[in-house]
Symmetry: C2
């Protein structure tokens, strides 16, 4: 989608405020060159102080962006665009972050087995004079997993650094019967909306 | 999903009857080791002689599997399992294969723009004493693409070797607003159903 503005984006210093190699791979797959800069924001917002999951993930994404932008400006490396994202797995009113132990991973995956849940990814795109925020949500339906399959999956090590205890782009993808929404929201960065925002931000420069 | 039978699968000579690096990457992502062997089957079946898209892609997948299996047996390299797949993009009653020219790619993508279409992937899994066939279908919804975006996408070269003229796992993913079904069906190999079949084939060997 971005090809008509790619020559403009290539001249920008675009920073992805994330330490996630999966997010970096996604933006590289669509031809964007970005600098990866992990946020030092503590991610300690209280979800109960927000009206919705969307507001919570957007605010976390915003705080990541602001922390990274401020730090880079202090270092004299002023970014043109900073992109931040935060992903959360929810089941009903519950939020699943990254499991803190194998026991917790087992509990999470047992809960997700044989049913649907919703993944929220909040995104913030900040240019020098504009901030755009949005949230995408995608429904994910897991097939029924037996205890051996869950224990075997945890033994691969994949669940431990991922929201909800699974990675859809890895071994975890084999448990997913279907999705409804943008698949890339589940990986961690909704590409369609992100590219739409970037296209709208820069299309007026095409003819300059 | 396959972890409880992975030690069994690792001792098998598994062949993927495909030349697609995308399919190979998918099976490797879930931890399966396979040998890639492109089928020499001509893919010349007449779609109009089949009752449904499903029967057509399954039969094409079957012919790929049989050709590869026969050839390997003649070479004295007898496979334990051969997996074949065929993917097709459909819009209403029309089938979109790989575009044969940039002009045709432009026509296809213009037709897909701003609407939903359905991707069928037929899969055949053949062991020494069993053949399992199935088809998965996934709905894909493209956002509206303008002419410059389509031309820019074609200029990346990505559309030319892909059914429907796009690759969802590459630059094409940025055009996709949402999917309904197994995302991996669109990449070319429905992982959930494939893994379910392999698990059912080998789970009785776990305790042997």
């Amino acid at each position: 989608m971005l090809q008509p503005v790619m020559h403009i984006l290539k001249q920008k210093n675009i920073v992805l405020a994330s330490g996630s190699p999966r997010r970096k791979e996604l933006v590289e797959n669509i031809g964007l060159k970005v600098q990866l800069c992990s946020s030092l924001f503590e991610e300690n917002l209280d979800p109960h102080s927000f009206k919705s999951f969307s507001e919570f993930v957007e605010e976390t994404a915003l705080q990541k962006v602001l922390e990274v932008e401020n730090r880079l400006i202090c270092e004299g490396n002023v970014p043109d665009i900073v992109i931040g994202a935060d992903t959360m797995v929810t089941l009903g009113k519950e939020m699943f972050g990254k499991p803190t132990s194998e026991h917790e991973a087992f509990e999470m995956l047992s809960r997700l087995s044989g049913r649907g849940h919703t993944v929220y990814t909040g995104v913030v795109v900040k240019s020098l004079d504009e901030i755009v925020k949005f949230t995408e949500k995608t429904n994910v339906f897991f097939g029924k997993m037996d205890e051996e399959q869950i224990r075997g999956y945890i033994a691969t090590g994949e669940p431990m650094d991922k929201a909800g205890g699974y990675g859809i782009q890895g071994v975890g993808g084999s448990f997913v019967e279907r999705v409804e929404g943008d698949y890339f929201t589940v990986v961690g960065l909704p590409l369609f909306r992100l590219c739409s925002v970037l296209y709208d931000m820069f299309k007026h420069e095409i003819l300059l």
